[in-house]
Symmetry: C2
DNA sequence: AAACAAATGATAATAATTATTATTATATAA
DNA sequence: TTATATAATAATAATTATTATCATTTGTTT
């Protein structure tokens, strides 16, 4: 964990931003809850446990900054809320998501499955791909089992 | 166009909803501007030209209804606004989008490029895919040319 | 220590969306 | 056809997420 904090610190410094205590507390929450897809409000409440004096606006500002530096990805699953997701270390692209329409669970797919598709987009459409967002909506393993049973 | 209105009318009736004049006006706007990706506010203003007495809430309600019936897809490109996109006739899945990070233009990719990827998701993850959202962010043809010139 | 810039906290403002409510249109049953 | 239930609507209030403002604090440089 400290290693990753360090890396993020360097990424910030490279653009002459500092890792303030508030920013560090926010990053720590993101690291601890890496599997989750937290909203700004969620993150705010969790950061408050570590640093009760922090303001909501600071959390938003920090997330915005981390977003610009591609340290986190801002994603929206269709409810009106933005969620923030740490990029895996060294990952060039944003990972994919499987959203269950029954139970609302969100699973991450880290493999990049879009290599071929991106080639098609670049060759046939002349569109230079920089990043992607891919989300599948469907029924997760658990909910499939539940349906069979009932 | 009348043919497609008719189809939508039937889809509504099948769930015992009616195609009221307000709903029809909304659908007509969506059909006329099929290539665009309009926000609820955009649609409201356009519908008002046909039916000036319509209320914004009705447009929202209509779009919500059409969304549930999978007649339109609600999509969010990262600005805080939901956009509404008619499904192509007979299309099983939502089409893909190419969003230019320079000029903001949005291009549609109607071909379904995800067949193989969906198979992987179903086989390896045991996730039963019902629909997908795929958006590429990058630089469109026009902006690439512009960059070379300058 | 003085001066400057960056970052923060508190809170006001904004924008998108949803809820409420009274009214109107539509369909149904006597 | 008229009475009655139901669905849909317009207007607008309320809510929610996010952004902007601004006074204060922190940290850095000279």
């Amino acid at each position: 964990m400290e290693h990753r904090i360090d890396r993020i610190k360097k990424q910030l410094h490279a653009q002459s931003y500092k890792l303030t205590p508030q920013r560090e507390a926010t990053v720590r929450v993101l690291l601890e809850r890496e599997e989750d897809h937290l909203s700004a409000e969620d993150i705010y409440l969790l950061v408050k446990e570590k640093a009760p004096e922090i303001g909501l606006a600071t959390v938003y500002r920090t997330l915005e900054l981390l977003s610009e530096l591609k340290i986190v990805d801002k994603i929206n699953f269709g409810d009106g809320v933005s969620r923030y997701d740490l990029r895996k270390e060294g990952a060039e692209h944003f990972h994919h998501h499987l959203v269950c329409i029954e139970c609302g669970s969100v699973e991450e797919v880290v493999d990049d499955l879009l290599g071929d598709v991106e080639k098609i987009i670049e060759n046939d459409w002349g569109f230079q791909v920089k990043d992607h967002r891919l989300t599948f909506h469907g029924i997760c393993k658990q909910c499939q089992k539940a349906t069979v049973k009932s």
